[in-house]
């Protein structure tokens, strides 16, 4: 699986945006071409991968967005679109007319939903118009970037628009050298406690959660772990993970990198590789080399049994590269 950036333009300007560095370094007007999309699809088809994600910026801004989804679905890829849900009425109508002809299993949306206070009325109106049409195909994504976050509105949206009863939880990652809003590792315990406080609403509404990369296992008590595991498995049976792997982002200029926060590191042309496996090996090797220097975001990661046996990656690599202060246990570090 890889993330293809269809365009670098975005309709939002989120304070935590971890794509910021890449976007600042790139031409906003750049859009992926048909020829390049076909090249990527070929590369992944040869690798027998059957899942591709479309990202941006805001991927639905690409004039050929709907055509791309139809095309990839016709090639038997499952297509996930990462969107903020803000589409022009014309684009939404186009998506409704054509994407609803597809089998539900061929595509889905992950909608990154900020708190309503961060959106204008018009933006909220458009998000809701999108959810009204594609609610059953949409999973909410929530990026935690401050400690007094609210999740109730997510549960409300899920209920109101009959969305997939699952929330993908992301941590706002640091961009090494930049000052985007993030949760500092010393605050991870507090963040987990806040997260836990929303569990009753989620259980009541049968909403499960899944962790995106960057969470560290040791920030959860055994009791919290048990609760989150039960909540995760009550959904589609998935388990919770504490991973940090190369995600493979591919830009419209056909450069590839490990993930957005690491877009400054080892960005390569996709044409330098002969296969998806070669790309993955290259970035796994990069991850491995960094982690040989510093195992994880906490001091304790070096001797962690769970890290050793692969249950936890030791937090986000961007934190390590950002030269995050390594904290001892009991001071906001590992429990």
């Amino acid at each position: 699986m890889a993330n293809i950036l269809l365009t670098q333009q975005c309709v939002r300007s989120c304070p935590y945006c971890f794509a910021k560095q890449h976007m600042d370094d790139s031409e906003a007007q750049q859009r992926i071409s048909w020829e390049d999309l076909i090249y990527i699809a070929d590369l992944f088809e040869v690798d027998r991968s059957n899942h591709l994600s479309l990202l941006g910026g805001e991927p639905t801004l690409h004039p050929d967005y709907v055509d791309f989804v139809l095309y990839l679905a016709e090639r038997k890829f499952h297509v996930t679109t990462f969107t903020c849900g803000i589409m022009s009425p014309k684009r939404l109508e186009e998506a409704v007319t054509h994407l609803k002809q597809l089998d539900d299993k061929q595509y889905n949306f992950v909608c990154n939903l900020n708190h309503p206070d961060m959106s204008t009325d018009k933006e909220t109106e458009r998000i809701e118009a999108f959810m009204k049409e594609f609610g059953q195909q949409t999973t909410l994504s929530f990026n935690i970037f401050h400690l007094d976050f609210d999740m109730q509105y997510l549960v409300d949206y899920i209920t109101k628009f009959n969305l997939v009863p699952h929330i993908r939880l992301g941590l706002a990652h640091p961009i090494p050298g930049e000052n985007n809003k993030i949760i500092h590792p010393k605050d991870f315990d507090t963040m987990v406690e806040r997260l836990e406080s929303f569990m009753p609403q989620m259980i009541e509404n049968n909403v499960s959660v899944g962790f995106d990369c960057g969470f560290a296992m040791c920030n959860f008590t055994d009791a919290q772990l048990g609760k989150f595991l039960r909540l995760a498995r009550s959904g589609d049976g998935r388990s919770i993970k504490f991973v940090c792997n190369p995600a493979l982002d591919i830009g419209p200029d056909m450069t590839v990198w490990s993930c957005f926060p690491l877009s400054r590191y080892h960005k390569k042309s996709i044409y330098e590789f002969n296969s998806v496996q070669e790309i993955l090996e290259y970035y796994r090797d990069f991850h491995k080399k960094v982690r040989e220097e510093q195992t994880g975001i906490f001091k304790e990661c070096a001797d962690c049994h769970f890290k050793e046996c692969g249950l936890c990656a030791g937090g986000c690599l961007a934190h390590i590269l950002n030269k995050t202060e390594v904290m001892p246990a009991g001071q906001g570090g590992a429990r």
Partner: protein, 292 residues
């Protein structure tokens, strides 16, 4: 140059020419001007002959083509003027895939190269054609499409005329690059309603015939005018024309000399096509050795 065995000679006829009652036991290519006429034409002409293919010269864009179940079972070559919206073409690709069809789009429109790549990657057999030599062609785009057709490791349908050139290339034999367009003086013989025989569609339109009469078709190999035409290529070498020193002649055959002189990318395209054909030949030989 020798000709590969098994390359059957065919008469290319226009539906409505009235020849269907006169021609029997021949292999035919039947031309029609709209897709709606393809099924009736196939039925009519195949009662006394074998119809190799129905060629449709269609004015409608590809996106507007509807394929009935009857159309899907007859061999079709659809020469179109334009493609239309990619979205619609993608949505119809399953229909095209199910049919025994090759879709051709003209080379002068750059958007067609993209659409052809989309079609091929969706496993729909397709091709590019030169609608009119006077219309400029982006030979770089042609080359990109050829590279995709010849080298992409992913599963895709054939893209003509590249697939034909690459898979039929033999350094010891004459290769007619235009064969997938039903233009090959060794295989396709255009016959009008007066039974005049020409060696291409253009020559028929210009009234440049090599023989007349259905009976003369079987004795064409003894026809002096025809034999002279087949050896015309030697003049390029006798007169030491540009083609005489061109390595790409093996795949181009001097088919478009006028374009070649005015566009250096044309030469590059055929040079790269030759390289693709050579690589394929070597690979085929290696595969054969390995099997032995």
């Amino acid at each position: 140059m020798k000709q590969k065995p098994g390359k059957e000679k065919m008469i290319v006829v226009q539906d409505g020419s009235g020849l269907e009652k006169k021609i029997t036991k021949k292999t035919l290519v039947v031309q029609v001007d709209t897709i709606e006429k393809a099924v009736p034409a196939f039925g009519k002409w195949s009662s006394e002959n074998r119809v190799f293919c129905v060629v449709v010269h269609e004015e409608k864009p590809l996106a507007e083509i509807e394929l009935s179940e009857e159309l899907k079972i007859i061999p079709l070559a659809l020469f179109l003027k334009e493609g239309g919206a990619p979205k619609t073409v993608i949505e119809k690709s399953r229909e095209f895939r199910e049919a025994n069809i090759t879709l051709y789009l003209p080379a002068h429109n750059p958007e067609n190269f993209t659409l052809l790549q989309i079609l091929a990657s969706l496993d729909v057999a397709c091709g590019v054609y030169l609608e009119n030599e006077a219309k400029p062609v982006n030979w770089d785009s042609m080359n990109d499409l050829m590279y995709y057709a010849a080298y992409s490791p992913a599963n895709h349908a054939r893209v003509e005329p590249f697939d034909y050139a690459v898979s039929n290339y033999d350094p010891q034999e004459y290769l007619c690059f235009t064969t997938p367009w039903f233009e090959n003086p060794r295989r396709f013989f255009y016959m009008d309603e007066n039974e005049n025989i020409a060696l291409s569609r253009k020559k028929m339109e210009e009234g440049d015939f090599v023989a007349t009469g259905i009976s003369s078709f079987d004795s064409l190999d003894d026809n002096e005018k025809y034999k002279e035409h087949l050896t015309m290529w030697t003049n390029q070498f006798i007169d030491n024309q540009r083609c005489a020193s061109c390595p790409a002649w093996r795949v181009c055959g001097g088919a478009f000399v006028s374009i070649c002189e005015s566009n250096p990318n044309y030469f590059q395209f055929f040079n790269d096509l030759l390289e693709a054909a050579e690589q394929n030949r070597v690979k085929q030989e290696q595969d054969t050795e390995w099997r032995l």
